[in-house]
């Protein structure tokens, strides 16, 4: 059934369709519309779940961990400062290999305080052992949540995942969304069942102290599981297509007019829509532009990126975060992946600054002169 709904609403519907049981939540803009919808579902009796109105994001992520350890599917959402407050627990959850799913309505970090969109929150927690997906549209946000549960809970993965949606510019946007039926979702997403949980009939110890003789094994295992996820992401994308009649590139990346492109834009999230439009307008003028949309930054899809950008002469990377004293994070990683290519860096849209078609056209021109820049 196709309806025009807000992305936050679409995410709440995905959580409901995933039959989530426990939802610890703490309000923060621009994430709040998601949990408000979930609270309505619960209080109207259409979602059989418990909401825990915790007193901080630190407790939200901790209660999420507790819920998972009691062997039920759980959900929470946050943004910016909230994610920063959760930082400590993120690697405790990934180190314990719990399949948590959390939506981040991406927002700039203080100071100065700014409630608008960029990716500085997501990139600040990049190395905490969570998979990170970025959605472009409301429908992709809904689909990504469903796929995220299946992926995180896969036996060969067992890694938590953040579903990133751009604050306001996606979270608060109304778009047509094809809402799948409960029967269809049930046929896609198996019932939640952990192999290891807090079970009085089979007592286990979670979160022991790992001395220097054991710690590294845990960390290497996390890395291997994250690499396993790449294959699983592709499989789930294919299975999703069979069941729901739609999919997203190969699951890891999505190409747009890339085959004969000389200059390829690389970006994440909702600005990919603007990038597509820019590609079309440039092509009208005979300029061979293309777009590579990265869906995942962790696991970093290096093989898919190399394959997609094999023929590109110039690459323009758009970052909405920055590593002060160094360079933009996507740019750094792309350079490491494609060491023989001309790659240029464009920092755009920090703190909710508009990213327009003109920015892409300007980047196209700068790229032809091998110039980097911050575009306002």
């Amino acid at each position: 059934m196709k309806r025009v709904i807000e992305t936050s609403h679409a995410i709440a519907l995905a959580v409901k369709l995933a039959r989530v049981k426990v939802i610890p939540m703490y309000p923060i803009t621009p994430q709040t519309h998601i949990v408000e919808r979930l609270a309505e579902f619960i209080n109207n009796g259409t979602l059989d779940a418990k909401m825990i109105h915790v007193e901080s994001e630190h407790s939200a992520i901790s209660a999420l961990q507790g819920a998972l350890l009691s062997n039920v599917r759980a959900f929470t959402a946050t943004s910016s400062q909230g994610l920063a407050l959760m930082f400590e627990i993120l690697q405790i959850i990934s180190g314990m290999r719990l399949p948590a799913v959390m939506v981040i309505a991406n927002r700039a970090l203080s100071a100065p305080i700014n409630i608008w969109n960029d990716h500085s929150d997501a990139f600040a927690v990049r190395d905490q052992g969570w998979m990170q997906i970025f959605a472009e549209t409301a429908e992709e946000a809904l689909d990504s949540v469903l796929m995220a549960y299946k992926l995180a809970e896969s036996k060969e993965v067992q890694i938590p995942i953040m579903v990133n949606i751009d604050g306001y510019s996606l979270s608060h946007v109304y778009e047509p969304v094809d809402i799948p039926s409960q029967t269809l979702v049930d046929s896609f997403l198996p019932k939640f069942k952990l192999e290891d949980y807090l079970d009085i009939n089979n007592p286990k110890t979670f979160g022991p102290i790992g001395f220097p003789d054991s710690y590294m094994y845990f960390k290497e295992a996390q890395h291997k599981a994250m690499k396993n996820a790449e294959k699983r992401i592709k499989e789930i994308n294919r299975e999703f297509k069979k069941k729901f009649k739609r999919s997203y590139g190969n699951g890891l990346v999505e190409e747009y007019k890339i085959e004969d492109a000389e200059t390829v834009f690389v970006c994440l999230g909702s600005i990919c829509g603007t990038a597509r439009e820019a590609v079309d307008q440039l092509r009208v003028k005979g300029k061979k532009a293309g777009l590579l949309k990265l869906r995942y930054i962790r696991p970093w899809p290096s093989k898919s990126i190399r394959k997609a950008l094999n023929k590109a002469e110039k690459i323009a990377v758009f970052d909405r975060a920055f590593s002060f004293g160094s360079e933009a994070p996507l740019y750094t990683e792309l350079k490491a992946t494609l060491q023989d290519k001309q790659i240029n860096s464009y920092v755009v849209g920090l703190g909710g600054r508009d990213v327009t078609i003109e920015h892409f056209k300007k980047a196209y021109r700068m790229c032809s002169k091998n110039k980097n820049g911050w575009l306002y």
Partner: protein, 301 residues
């Protein structure tokens, strides 16, 4: 007195000889039994019981972080409820004084306010012992710690102890009590009552610490006994808002009988001992003055 024979924390853990915290946990678990899940804060208990791949725990146990046991327990509480097995399981959140009085105070208060069902046990050894005896909000007046040293100008900790059980009681919970390993029948009875509560119940456990308090490891129980005999650690419970002493010495011994057993107080002047005596007496008298009254009753619910 019929203490259960079963042990749920195995011997061979790495706690110091005479550790008051491990003894407390051992006896609390005997009272709560096999169907118990423990959420344990970062601290000595966590470190000494779980050097991977070994564990001393014979029941399901989880350690997440320092300040979040009440929040993790909140998630477990609701998860078990969703699975329809909440009533079959005793859920314990166990944290030291650093975890309970200081860094995890907010998450404890939040969980109480939300009306979760679990028993919180603050194993209080009156300083950050795991990191090397640093002062906490539970460190008593004038105690010598590594961050409140008995210097020439300042003689140990200059602030008194935070009254955590009374603060918890002010949330309007149905059961708060103090427990001591020097009085096991009292401890057992209180754990049993705490486990029956339908909301968060709170036990403040007195846990002497051999290296932190500086006394011979054979004296743990004796020191705990003396703490109650001198009024330093009165044994009471607050049930449905009404405070009752469960043990009341006929006459309190002078506080110095307790202080002089421990190296952490050996620097005290006569005037400082008098200040501690007055402080202990005032607090004890306050508790006596509210005994059997409804001072923590439904007002706060």
């Amino acid at each position: 007195m019929g203490l259960p024979r079963e042990e749920y924390i195995a011997s061979g853990h790495r706690a110091c000889a005479g550790c008051g915290e491990i003894l407390t946990i051992r006896h609390v678990l005997k009272a709560s039994g096999k169907n118990t899940i423990v959420v344990n804060a970062t601290g000595c208990a966590e470190v000494v019981t779980t050097p991977y791949p070994q564990t001393a725990w014979k029941i399901p146990w989880v350690h997440s972080a320092f300040e979040n046991i009440a929040a993790v327990a909140s998630g477990i509480d609701k998860g078990l409820e969703c699975r329809g097995i909440r009533d079959k399981i005793n859920l314990l959140a166990i944290g030291g004084d650093g975890a309970s009085f200081d860094i995890g105070f907010g998450s404890l208060s939040g969980a109480i306010e939300r009306g979760h069902k679990f028993t919180y046990i603050a194993t209080d050894n009156e300083a950050y012992m795991n990191t090397g005896i640093q002062r906490s909000g539970a460190t008593p007046l004038f105690a010598n710690t590594t961050t409140s040293p008995a210097g020439k100008k300042i003689h140990g900790k200059i602030e008194p102890k935070k009254p955590l059980p009374l603060i918890v009681a002010a949330h309007g919970v149905s059961y708060v009590a103090t427990i001591s390993i020097a009085d096991l029948p009292d401890l057992y009875a209180k754990v049993k009552k705490a486990l029956k509560a339908e909301v968060v119940s709170f036990l403040h456990a007195f846990c002497p610490c051999v290296p932190g308090w500086k006394y011979p490891s054979s004296k743990t129980i004796e020191i705990a006994k003396k703490a109650t005999a001198t009024g330093v650690f009165p044994l009471y419970e607050i049930e449905n808002g009404i405070l009752k002493f469960t043990r009341k010495p006929a006459k309190l011994e002078p506080v110095n009988n307790y202080l002089k057993m421990q190296g952490r107080f050996k620097h005290l002047s006569q005037s400082e001992i008098r200040q501690i005596q007055n402080y202990v007496k005032e607090r004890y008298n306050f508790l006596l003055s509210v005994e059997n009254s409804k001072c923590f009753d439904t007002l706060f619910k």
